[in-house]
C-alpha cells in the first residue's frame, strides 16, 4: 500500500481508498461505497459520541466518495462540528468539506458563518487564513452578507500578517464577483490601491487581482493605481534576475506580478502624465528588447514566463493603439513567432496578430505576413492553430488582398475539419460580399462555396446571394449563366439547385438566346434534379416552373404536363400538391397579361445588414470579431446591397423587418432577420399567387376559379355569427394599438413580458396579405398555441401548437375586402406556459378600411368638381380636434401618404392645407374619397373634412384619422 505512512493516522481512509482502487468493476465500486456509506451513517447516528479523530476520518471518507462522483446527502453537520475543533487538522478537514460540498441549507450556513466569525477574530493567522479560504471557495451571497464589511478592515489593518492580507484580498475579490453590491470599498479605496507599494511581493501579487477587478468597474475611483503600477513595473523590469529572490522564476523576475500589472494598465487609457507615460514606454521597450536577447536558460519555463510578459505587453500596446513605433515592433516580434518551432507560440502569435490587424498603424505590417499565415493554414498539424490562421486571414483581409485570401480559404475548405467548416463558410461569404469589386467574382465565390461545402452553407448565405443578384441588374445575366453551368455537374448540392431554380426562374431569359441553354434545356436541367431534392426545394422548383411558363411560353405544354402528372398533382405532401394544382390552373386560365403581372420579376430587396454577418456574430459571440470590423462590414454591406440604383421604389419600400422582429438583443436579431428573409424569398417572389396553406388541397380547384382569390381565410363584412364566448374580450388598449397602424403596415402590434407580435402587411386593390410573427420572449416553451381570427365570424387558422423558448413562429393571413366595414377583425391568442396559467388575449387586427385605398391623382378643377358632387350632408364628415402629435409638415405628409391616398399639391388656395384623394377598393364597389386637413399651428388644432361616396366610410375614416394627428 503506497504512501499510507501518514503518521496522523486516517489509516481507515487509506484502506478504503485502496479498496476502491482494487475494485474490478463499477458495480463492485458502488457496492463498496454503499457499504461504507451505511457504516458512516450508523456511526453518525449511533448513541456513542464520536471523537474528533473519527469524525474527521469519516468526513474525509465522505469527501472522497463525493469527489469520485457520487452524491452525498449527509455528514454536513459533523463537518460543521469539526470547524470548532481546537485541533488544526480537524478544523482543516471540516473547512475542506464545507468548501467542496456546501449547500444552501440556511440552518447550516448560520452555523458555518458563526465558526468562520470565531476564526476570523481569533488573531491566529493560520486559523484566519483557513476561514478566509473557505469564504473564497464558497463565495455565497450569505457569506458576502456576513463578511463583506469585515474583510476590507482585515486587509488594510497595519497589524495583519502578510499571508492573511493575501488571503483577505482574494477573498474580497471572490465576494465582489458574486455580490458586487455588498462589497463597498469607500473609505478603504486609497489604502487598497497603496497595497501596490507593499514591500511584500506576495501581498502585491494578491492585491493587484482585486484592484484590477475593482478598476474595471469603477475606473475613476481607482485611477491613482496607474502611476503606482507603472513604477512597480519599472522596478521589476529593470531589476537583475536575482534581485527578487524567490519571486524570480527561471531567471525571469516576478512574471506573474508583471503580467498582472500590465493587465491592470489595460483598464485605463495611456497615462496623461508625461513622465509616467515615458517611464511606461521605456518599460515596454525594455520588454521588447529582452525578447531579442539570448535566453538565460534552455528550460521552456524560462521562455514561457518571459513570453507571457511579452504577450501581455503587446496586448497593452494594442490596447493603447497610439504608439505606431511600438505597434510595428510588436508586429515584427509576432512575425518571428509565426515561424517558431513551439506550437504554443505560433498559436499565440496568430491570435495576437488578429487584434493588431484592426489597428490602422499596424494593419499594413500585419499584411506582410500573409504568405506565412497562408502556409500555416495549409500545413499546421493542429486544428486549433489552423483555426487561428483562418481567423487572422479574415482579420487582415482588405480590398487589396481579398481575392487571394478568399481563394486560399476556399481551397482550404476542401479539406478543412468539419468542426470549423461552417464558420469558414460564413467568413468566406462575408469577405466575398464585403470586398466584391465586381459581382461576377462574388457570384463565382458563393457558387464555389456551395460546390465545395454545400452542407455547411446555411440559408443565410444562399438567401444573400439571391438578394444581391436580384438587386444588381449588371450581374443577373452572369449569375444565370454561371449557375446554369454549375448545375451541369452530375451531382450537385441541393443548395445549388435552390439557387439555380431561383435564378433561372427569374433571369433564365437572359441566357435563353444561346441554343445550349435554351428554355427547354434549362427546364430539363432543373427538372433532372427535382426527384433527388427535399420537399422545400421541390416547392421552390415548382415556383420556378410557373415562372418559366411566363418567361418562355414555348415551355408551357411541357411544364403543364409535369404539373399534371400524378406525382405532382396528387403528391402526398400538401404543399407540393397545392402548388402543382394552383400553378396548373393558373397557367391554363390566366391570360398572358395576367400571367405577366402575377409572375413579374422580383422587386429589389430593401437594404439591410447582411444576415450572414449577424449569424457570424451570433456564432462567435461578442468580442470575437472586433467592433470596428463589424461596423465596417455593416457599412460596406449596406452600400453594396443598396448600391443598385433601382429607382425610388427601393427607398419607399418600408424597411421590412429591422425593428419589427428584434425580439431580443444582438444575437437573436440575426435569427429573426433570417426568418424575414425566408418569408420574402418564399412569398414575396410570387406576389399574387395565393398561398393556401390552410385549405385542403382537394377543395382548391373549386375555389380557384377565375383568379378571384376567394379562398381567403379572412372574409368580411362581418357575418352575423356572434363571437365565441371563450376568447377574452379585446384588451383595453386594443384600439390604441390599432390606431398605431392606420398609417403604416409594419411594426410591433403587441408586446408583454411573454410574447411579442410583429406585423408585416401588404395590400393591393381589395386584397391584402398579413404576416404575423409570434415571438416567445421567455426561455420556456409555449404549448397549445392557438390563434383565432374573427370578424366577428370565426375562423381557426392552424399555427404550430408549440412555440419554443426564444423562438418565433409566423402566420400568414390573406385578406379580401368584400365591402366597406368599420370594425376591425379580432385576433384571439391562447397558449399555456409551463407552470403558468392559460394565456388568453384578444387584439384588434390592424386592418382598417383605408388599407384598400388606391391613390388618385387629379387636377384642381377635377377635385373641386367632385367635391361639389359629394355634397349631400351625410356624405361629409367633419371633426375639429386638438393636435396630439407634431404638426411638422414632413411628418404630416408622411402620415397622409401612409394613409394610402394621393397627396395633391396646388389644389387648396391655402398652401398650409392638405388635400388628398383616393378610391377604396372593395369587392362589391369602389368608394371615392376626398380629404381636406386644415392645420392651425397657432391654436394647435386641426379641422378634418372627409367626403366619400358612401356615408359610413366618411364617418369611419374621420374617426380613424382624428386619432392620427
Amino acid at each position: 500500500m503506497p504512501a499510507v505512512s501518514k503518521g496522523d493516522g486516517m489509516r481507515g481512509l487509506a484502506v478504503f481508498i485502496s479498496d476502491i482502487r482494487n475494485c474490478k468493476s463499477k458495480e463492485a465500486e458502488i457496492k463498496r461505497i454503499n457499504k461504507e456509506l451505511a457504516n458512516i451513517r450508523s456511526k453518525f447516528k449511533g448513541d456513542k459520541a464520536l471523537d474528533g479523530y473519527s469524525k474527521k476520518k469519516y468526513v474525509c471518507k465522505l469527501l472522497f466518495i463525493f469527489l469520485l462522483g457520487h452524491d452525498i446527502d449527509f455528514g454536513h453537520m459533523e463537518a460543521v462540528n469539526l470547524l470548532s475543533s481546537n485541533k488544526y487538522t480537524e478544523k482543516q478537514i471540516g473547512y475542506l468539506f464545507i468548501s467542496v460540498l456546501v449547500n444552501s441549507n440556511s440552518e447550516l450556513i448560520r452555523l458555518i458563518n458563526n465558526a468562520i466569525k470565531n476564526d476570523l477574530s481569533s488573531r491566529n493567522p493560520t486559523f484566519m487564513c483557513l476561514a478566509l479560504h473557505c469564504i473564497a471557495n464558497v463565495g455565497s451571497r450569505e457569506m458576502a452578507e456576513a463578511f463583506a464589511s469585515e474583510i476590507p478592515r482585515i486587509l488594510v489593518a497595519g497589524d495583519t500578517m502578510d499571508s492573511v492580507k493575501q488571503s483577505a484580498a482574494l477573498c474580497l475579490l471572490r465576494l465582489y464577483k458574486t455580490s458586487p453590491d455588498l462589497v463597498l470599498m469607500g473609505e478603504w479605496t486609497s489604502r487598497v490601491v497603496h497595497l501596490l507599494n507593499d514591500q511584500h511581493m506576495g501581498v502585491v501579487t494578491a492585491a493587484i487581482s482585486l484592484i484590477t477587478c475593482l478598476s474595471q468597474k469603477n475606473p475613476d475611483e481607482f485611477k491613482t493605481c496607474v502611476s503606482l503600477a507603472v513604477s512597480r513595473l519599472s522596478r521589476i523590469v529593470s531589476s537583475a534576475s536575482t534581485d527578487l529572490q524567490d519571486y524570480t522564476y527561471y531567471f525571469v523576475p516576478a512574471p506573474w506580478l508583471s503580467c498582472k500589472l500590465l493587465r491592470l494598465l489595460q483598464c485605463y487609457p495611456p497615462p496623461e502624465d508625461g513622465a509616467v507615460k515615458g517611464r511606461l514606454v521605456e518599460c515596454l521597450e525594455t520588454i521588447l528588447n529582452k525578447a531579442q536577447e539570448p535566453p538565460k536558460s534552455k528550460k521552456v519555463q524560462h521562455s514561457n514566463a518571459k513570453n507571457a510578459i511579452l504577450f501581455e505587453a503587446i496586448s497593452l500596446i494594442i490596447h493603447y493603439d497610439s504608439e505606431p513605433n511600438l505597434l510595428v515592433r510588436a508586429c515584427n516580434q509576432l512575425g518571428q513567432f509565426l515561424q517558431h518551432r513551439e506550437t504554443n507560440l505560433r498559436y499565440l502569435a496568430l491570435e495576437s496578430m488578429c487584434t493588431l490587424a484592426s489597428s490602422e498603424f499596424s494593419h499594413e505590417a500585419v499584411k506582410t505576413h500573409i504568405e506565412t499565415v497562408i502556409n500555416a493554414l495549409k500545413t499546421e498539424r493542429d486544428v486549433s492553430v489552423r483555426q487561428r490562421a483562418a481567423d487572422l486571414l479574415y482579420a487582415m483581409c482588405d480590398r487589396s488582398n481579398a481575392k487571394q485570401i478568399v481563394a486560399e480559404m476556399l481551397s482550404y475548405l476542401e479539406t478543412a475539419d468539419y468542426s470549423i467548416r461552417e464558420e469558414m463558410v460564413l467568413k468566406v461569404a462575408i469577405l466575398a460580399e464585403k470586398y466584391a469589386v465586381d459581382y461576377s467574382w462574388y457570384v463565382d465565390t458563393i457558387l464555389n462555396l456551395i460546390r465545395i461545402a454545400g452542407d455547411y452553407v446555411s440559408e443565410e448565405v444562399w438567401y444573400r446571394v439571391i438578394q444581391i443578384v436580384i438587386n444588381r441588374d449588371d450581374v443577373q445575366g452572369y449569375a444565370a449563366k454561371t449557375v446554369f453551368e454549375a448545375l451541369q455537374a452530375p451531382a450537385c448540392h441541393e443548395n445549388m439547385v435552390k439557387v439555380g431554380g431561383y435564378i433561372l426562374g427569374e433571369f433564365g431569359n437572359l441566357i435563353a438566346g444561346d441554343p445550349r441553354s435554351s428554355p427547354l434545356v434549362q427546364f430539363n436541367l432543373l427538372h433532372s434534379k427535382f426527384h433527388l431534392c427535399s420537399v422545400p426545394t421541390r416547392a421552390l422548383l415548382l415556383s420556378a416552373y410557373i415562372k418559366f411558363i411566363n418567361l418562355f411560353p414555348e415551355t408551357k405544354a411541357t411544364i403543364q404536363e409535369v404539373l399534371r402528372c400524378d406525382s405532382q398533382i396528387r403528391n402526398s405532401d400538401v404543399e407540393l400538391q397545392q402548388r402543382a394544382v394552383e400553378y396548373l390552373k393558373l397557367s391554363s386560365i390566366a391570360s398572358t397579361d395576367v400571367l405577366a403581372t402575377v409572375l413579374e420579376e422580383m422587386p429589389p430587396f430593401p437594404e439591410r445588414e447582411s444576415s450572414i454577418l449577424a449569424k457570424l456574430k451570433k456564432k462567435k459571440g461578442p468580442g470575437a470579431v472586433s467592433v470596428t470590423e463589424l461596423d465596417d462590414g455593416k457599412r460596406e454591406a449596406g452600400e453594396l446591397n443598396g448600391g443598385g440604383d433601382r429607382g425610388p421604389d427601393t427607398a419607399s419600400t418600408p424597411s421590412p423587418s429591422a425593428d419589427l422582429l428584434g425580439i431580443r438583443s444582438a444575437a437573436p436579431v440575426g435569427a429573426a432577420q433570417t426568418n424575414a428573409v425566408a418569408v420574402i424569398s418564399h412569398f414575396h417572389s410570387y406576389p399574387f399567387i395565393p398561398y393556401l396553406s390552410c385549405c385542403l388541397s382537394a377543395s382548391i380547384p373549386a375555389l380557384f376559379c377565375g383568379l378571384s382569390l376567394h379562398p381567403c381565410p379572412v372574409l368580411w363584412p362581418p357575418s352575423s355569427a356572434p363571437p365565441s364566448e371563450d376568447p377574452a374580450p379585446p384588451l383595453s388598449e386594443a384600439d390604441e394599438l390599432l390606431n398605431k397602424f392606420v398609417c403604416k403596415n409594419n411594426g410591433v402590434l403587441f408586446e408583454n413580458q411573454l410574447l411579442q407580435i410583429g406585423i408585416k402587411s401588404e395590400y393591393r386593390q381589395n386584397l391584402g396579405r398579413m404576416y404575423l410573427f409570434y415571438g416567445n420572449k421567455t426561455s420556456v416553451q409555449f404549448a397549445s398555441f392557438t390563434t383565432t381570427v374573427s370578424c366577428p365570424g370565426e375562423l381557426h387558422k392552424p399555427v404550430e401548437p408549440l412555440v419554443e423558448g426564444g423562438a418565433q413562429i409566423q402566420q400568414v393571413l390573406n385578406i379580401e375586402c368584400i365591402t366597406d366595414f368599420s370594425d376591425a377583425p379580432l385576433l384571439n391568442i391562447k397558449f399555456s406556459r409551463y407552470g403558468g396559467a392559460l394565456q388568453n388575449l384578444t387584439l384588434k387586427l390592424p386592418v382598417t378600411i383605408n388599407k384598400f385605398f388606391q391613390p388618385t391623382e387629379m387636377s384642381s378643377s377635377d377635385f373641386f368638381q367632385r367635391w361639389k358632387q359629394l355634397s349631400q350632408p351625410q356624405q361629409e364628415a367633419q371633426k375639429i380636434f386638438k393636435a396630439n402629435h407634431s404638426m411638422d409638415t414632413e411628418v404630416l405628409k408622411a402620415k397622409l401618404l401612409g394613409l394610402g391616398t394621393a397627396l395633391l399639391d396646388n389644389i387648396d388656395p391655402n398652401p398650409e392645407n392638405y388635400v388628398c384623394a383616393g378610391v377604396i377598393q372593395t369587392k362589391s364597389q369602389q368608394i371615392g374619397c376626398l380629404l381636406r386637413l386644415e392645420p392651425n399651428a397657432q391654436a394647435q388644432m386641426y379641422r378634418l373634412t372627409l367626403r366619400c361616396s358612401k356615408d359610413t366610410v366618411s364617418k369611419r375614416l374621420c374617426e380613424l384619422l382624428a386619432q392620427q394627428f
Partner: protein, 155 residues
C-alpha cells in the same frame, strides 16, 4: 481562472477546483466533455484551445493531465506556468510526487492549491512561502508526513 481539473490518462478525475458557482450536474458535464476533448489531442499539439467561451490551457505530466479554464483576457502562457508551479509545489512537498500521492492524500493537494491559488488568482507565487505555510500547518499536526514510494515524475 474559472476552474482547474486534474485527471489521469484513463480519464479518472483526481482533483477538481471550481472558482465559479456551478451546479453539480453542470460540473460533471463540463468534466466529461473536457476530459474527452483533451485526451483526444495528440502529444505535439498546442496546449491551448478554445472551448465554449473560455480558453483551456492544459499540460500533461507523466500520467496526469492538468487542465485550467481561463477567461478571454487571461494570459495562456502564464497559466501554463501556474500549472508548472503547482506541480513543483506538489513535487517538493511529497518529494517526487506521483499520481498515487494525489489519490491517497487528496486533501493535501487541495490544501497546497488553496495556499497557491485563491478564488482563481495567484495568491503567493513564491515556492518557499507556500511551502512554509503548509509546513507551519503540518507542525500543528501530531505527526509529520513521511513520503514512501517509488513512482517519480519527470518535471
Amino acid at each position: 481562472m474559472q476552474f482547474m481539473l486534474l485527471f489521469s490518462r484513463q480519464g479518472k478525475l483526481r482533483l477538481q477546483k471550481w472558482y465559479v458557482p456551478l451546479s453539480d450536474k453542470e460540473k460533471k458535464k463540463i468534466t466529461r466533455e473536457l476530459v474527452q476533448t483533451v485526451l483526444a489531442r495528440k502529444p505535439k499539439m498546442c496546449s491551448f484551445l478554445e472551448w465554449r467561451d473560455l480558453k483551456i490551457v492544459y499540460k500533461r505530466y507523466a500520467s496526469l493531465y492538468f487542465c485550467c479554464a481561463i477567461e478571454d483576457q487571461d494570459n495562456e502562457l502564464i497559466t501554463l506556468e501556474i500549472i508548472h508551479r503547482y506541480v513543483e509545489l506538489l513535487d517538493k512537498y511529497f518529494g517526487s510526487v506521483c499520481e498515487l500521492d494525489i489519490i491517497f492524500n487528496f486533501e493535501k493537494a487541495y490544501f497546497i492549491l488553496d495556499e497557491f491559488l485563491l478564488g482563481g488568482e495567484a495568491q503567493e507565487t513564491s515556492k518557499k512561502n507556500v511551502l512554509k505555510a503548509i509546513e507551519q500547518a503540518d507542525l500543528l499536526q501530531e505527526v509529520r508526513y513521511t513520503p514512501n514510494h517509488s513512482h517519480v515524475w519527470q518535471i
